[in-house]
Subunit: 220 residues, 2 copies
Amino acid sequence: MTRTRFHQGLDDLKQKLLAMGGLAEQAVERAVRAYQTRDLSLCQVVLRDESKINAAERDVDEMSIDLLAMQQPMAIDLRFIVACIKINADLERVGDQAVNIAERVMDLATRPDSTLEVDIPRMAQFSISMVRDALNAFLTADVNLAQTVLERDDLVDNMNREIFEAVDLAMSQSNSNHRTLLDTLIVARNLERVADHATNIAEDVIFWVRGADVRHHAQS
Amino acid sequence: MTRTRFHQGLDDLKQKLLAMGGLAEQAVERAVRAYQTRDLSLCQVVLRDESKINAAERDVDEMSIDLLAMQQPMAIDLRFIVACIKINADLERVGDQAVNIAERVMDLATRPDSTLEVDIPRMAQFSISMVRDALNAFLTADVNLAQTVLERDDLVDNMNREIFEAVDLAMSQSNSNHRTLLDTLIVARNLERVADHATNIAEDVIFWVRGADVRHHAQS
């Protein structure tokens, strides 16, 4: 096992993790599109593809452990592998949120439309862009981009609170479509969790790059 | 660095993680007690102690990385350290759920009591016992106990669904105390997430112990 083969292994791990990120992102996008269009067949696709994400999670874990076992990694590589293990767990849970949203859409499909003035698609776009940027920060080791993801988390929390208050207000005015409102509320919370996971991923990128930087400066 | 010192390090890591588990469990217990008694000072304690849990998370991560860097661990030790890193992330998020519950209690404290027939304390006890048993399974490397935690997850999901339907029904009958109902619904979902994290921890215990067993059998 040469250093070169080890670094090839690190690169394979990165690619595998990014591919998994793509699957998780796609699942959320599909669930949100299903929400907008009430498309039940798209919900089924999201439910079906969950097992792909779970399989990818196991692969990434095994690749990470194999790399840790192969040779004594340098500090920067060690932090990279640990970051991959943590990001992996978060991506799998992003996929879980897509499934949760799809399940709410299946419940919503049988209910009357709500006239609630909440912009779920906007919140979804915002949360998905946080996942995408966290993964881009991981790809390019970009601490500044990761930092912008952290800063956006408060905005998603605010959107979530606004939707909670809007649902509360709508319910105080009428209880005719409360089930639709409840489902909408849950979808908003699921999207907030997607953003939480994006934030965790961004923190892991910073942990990896900054930890390495600190060490680099100490040696110079 | 001798093997003995390395194993001392593994033991310190385990103790540190269990202590962190104790903090997270305690935070959920306090938040639930605050829910039952509408005790706002207890909510403040939960909010204040979140930083302790976050600090413990950082310590466990650093201890894990130091151990990985110190020597080339054997497969079983490697899986143990990786399991610690993953369990650590879940415990921190159990603490987050306690904070979320405390925030709902602070909202509830200003509202009239609900007459909703849902047993949040029962669901809480159930979820907390899953965390406790997952940590005990970790302490004693007990795959069977970890397995029982996995099996209980469906029961918590059912409780969560029952509470959703109970809230839905109560709302269809009246919209006078819908805010209380919404808060109760969110608390139930927070508890379901606590159980999810317990399930993740149990899976990590199985991954650690079984992985080692598999390897052991392959060599024998």
